[in-house]
């Protein structure tokens, strides 16, 4: 037992004493994350602003006078060009030089005015290029707002009072229309992303140090000095596993805190989700979260160490660990995009169950039974892997080739 503690302390000291290591393990990923998030959100909002400020280039054929008046009265400015050949306009649309072409039928105003039941309804054609941002934005605005307004205007001219035509409205005056459990809704937005990031960051945080702890020590020849000391192989393994657990746990905790703190940055980039980005965790949720994170940190640490034991160098070890990392990534993605309620057996599949349960904990939908089976199955697999590592430590062709 004494050996476990000593080796644990040394592994922790190794990271803590090394400023470069401290920086690269704990700070750099967090900084990168915040940097990338604020960069994307800035780029997205810049792009939106740019589209908003762009003056749409529009061709209008057979423009009715009343439409011209409406455009002039409106707030948005448009660059209305004089008409050209049809082919030429289409070419400009394709190239993105023009944004929109509105083709009114000839004498729209008189057609509307003299309309009788049974006559053909006049059609306004709007041409645009959906692969150009400016063009599709102009299309949204013109067809959705300007032309709709124009239609209402002409309609009003014909029938006088529009209210006669309105049978009912939907939610025109109903501020309480959204009925949902806020806690659950908050959790849903969080629960979708956090488990994914937590599992990945936990693994990523453990990967560099874990491979160095075992394969690196073999490579440097320092492992042998431990092997000739009067410490059980199992104590060496456990000391290292626990140290890795703590280091990766702390690093993932830092990432999570940074992530939650930088939520406003993110939500700016992902418009529409900001309402769900409030972090409210009850004591019960906190206990469950901590439990799952500890079990996961343990399992990941044993996984990484297991792969590293069979490698001769850190480089080789990273190659071996990579497939496991990809697996963790895929499992994270799976949990992120599964909406079906998982069956109770699912909660016994290590790794996968933890992603589901994390999601469940955050949206307040998990039972203690599901939590317990997840916790135990992950811990059990970790224990089995630890056993395999100890066996590998006893094999001389693995440890002293």
């Amino acid at each position: 037992m004494r050996g476990i503690g000593e080796i644990f302390k040394k592994e922790i000291a190794r990271v803590v004493k090394d400023r470069k290591m401290l920086f690269s393990v704990f700070l750099l990923p967090a900084l990168l994350m915040v940097g990338i998030m604020s960069l994307t959100s800035n780029l997205v909002s810049n792009m939106e602003e740019d589209i908003d400020s762009h003056v749409a280039v529009i061709y209008v054929s057979n423009m009715p006078e009343s439409f011209q008046t409406l455009l002039d009265a409106g707030e948005s400015a448009y660059d209305i060009r004089s008409m050209k050949e049809e082919e030429q306009i289409k070419e400009e649309l394709k190239k993105g030089e023009a944004d929109l072409w509105i083709e009114f039928p000839e004498n729209l105003e008189s057609q509307v005015e003299n309309y009788r039941e049974g006559d053909r309804i006049p059609q306004v054609k709007v041409y645009y290029n959906p692969s150009e941002d400016y063009s599709s934005a102009a299309y949204q605005e013109i067809s959705g707002q300007v032309l709709e307004g124009y239609r209402q205007m002409l309609l009003q001219n014909r029938v006088g009072n529009l209210e006669q035509l309105t049978v009912f409205t939907v939610n025109s005056d109903n501020p309480e229309m959204v009925v949902q459990d806020d806690k659950k809704a908050n959790g849903k937005a969080l629960g979708m992303m956090l488990p994914y990031f937590i599992t990945i960051l936990l693994f990523a945080g453990a990967m560099g140090i874990g491979t160095d702890m075992i394969a690196g020590e073999k490579e440097r020849g320092t492992m042998a000095s431990l092997l000739v000391s009067p410490v059980k192989r199992s104590s060496i393994v456990l000391g290292k596993v626990f140290a890795l657990m703590v280091i990766s746990g702390i690093s993932s905790l830092i990432y999570v805190v940074v992530m939650v703190a930088s939520m406003p940055l993110m939500s700016k980039a992902m418009a529409g989700t900001e309402s769900g980005m409030k972090m409210e965790i009850t004591l019960e949720q906190g206990v469950m979260l901590a439990g799952i994170l500890i079990a996961l940190a343990f399992l990941y640490s044993t996984l990484i160490i297991l792969f590293s034991v069979f490698a001769k160098s850190t480089k080789e070890a990273s190659t071996y660990v990579m497939p496991a990392y990809l697996l963790v990534l895929v499992i994270g993605l799976m949990s992120m995009f599964t909406s079906k309620a998982p069956s109770s057996e699912t909660y016994f599949i290590p790794l996968y169950n933890s992603a589901i349960v994390l999601k469940g904990i955050l949206s307040d939908e998990v039972t203690w039974m599901q939590f317990a089976s997840t916790l135990l199955s992950n811990l059990a697999l970790g224990a089995v892997l630890t056993g395999v590592i100890v066996k590998a430590f006893e094999r001389e062709n693995v440890m002293a080739p």
Binding site: T222, L227, V228, P230
Partner: protein, 257 residues
């Protein structure tokens, strides 16, 4: 006491190693039915060319690798059955065992002291003694990666002796050291012997073996070709120095094949 009884160590070769050695046999016998006994209060030297099986023998004694056949008793403990007991009794040093370059000698000394369960007060005394003897004090707090080869070797020797072991196993202890440091290491080994400890070293340097060792086991191709004091070996081969004696024995062994 170290007793080696009919030690045989066979390595399995992988394909790459087989190619390198130009052999189709996937097994290589590194040590072949070797027996020897080394007693407390003597310096026993394993002398032989590179690849003779000296290091393999020492690694078997130190429980890093397991004998394929035969038994080794270290202070009465069998290396495979009671490997932890064996590791308590020995101080082992070889060039492929290194100290963690991130830490200082001071830290590593304390670390291994605690692994060996050396009491705090005793640890301080040992540190004072060993650091003074090997002149480590001036660089004790520097990271090991910043040290020169000689300093690293001194640090490694001091750390391997932290628990004041009864049996000291050094694989080519003066390798890479300048003559002054090499001399001080050899003097220290004599001091250990004077304290009644058993020292077993491997070397391919004849002059070192001649000056240092009480008894020498000549190892050729994994077998013990001859054993005895320097005088006995010289008398056996009718030669004047150990190098000539070694070549006589080497010719005899190789001539048989």
């Amino acid at each position: 006491m170290i007793e080696i009884k009919h030690l045989t160590k066979v390595y399995k070769l992988n394909k790459k190693q087989m190619q390198e050695l130009h052999t189709k046999n996937n097994k290589k016998t590194a040590v072949d039915d070797l027996s020897l006994t080394a007693r407390p209060g003597e310096i026993y030297g394993l002398l032989g060319p590179n690849g003779a099986g000296k290091t393999t023998t020492l690694r078997c004694i130190a429980t890093i690798i397991k004998p394929t056949k035969g038994e080794i008793y270290v202070a009465g403990h069998e290396v495979q059955k009671e490997s932890e007991q064996v590791r308590r009794k020995i101080g082992f040093l070889t060039s492929d065992i290194k100290l963690d370059p991130q830490f200082s000698t001071d830290y590593m000394f304390d670390f291994f002291g605690r692994l060996h369960e050396v009491p705090e007060q005793k640890l301080k005394e040992r540190k004072e003694e060993l650091f003074t003897y090997f002149g480590i004090k001036e660089f004790a707090h520097k990271q090991i990666k910043e040290l020169s080869t000689g300093m690293k070797q001194k640090a490694a020797i001091a750390v391997s002796l932290v628990h004041n072991p009864d049996i000291v196993i050094f694989d080519e202890p003066t390798n890479g050291l300048d003559i002054i440091t090499a001399r001080s290491v050899m003097d220290y080994l004599r001091k250990l012997k004077a304290e009644g400890k058993l020292v077993i070293v491997s070397t391919h340097i004849m002059s070192e073996a001649e000056k240092l060792c009480d008894r020498i086991g000549m190892i050729i191709d994994g077998k013990k070709a001859a054993e005895g004091t320097v005088e006995e070996l010289l008398a056996l081969t009718h030669t004047d120095d150990l190098e000539d004696a070694f070549f006589e024995i080497y010719k005899e062994v190789k001539g048989e094949e």
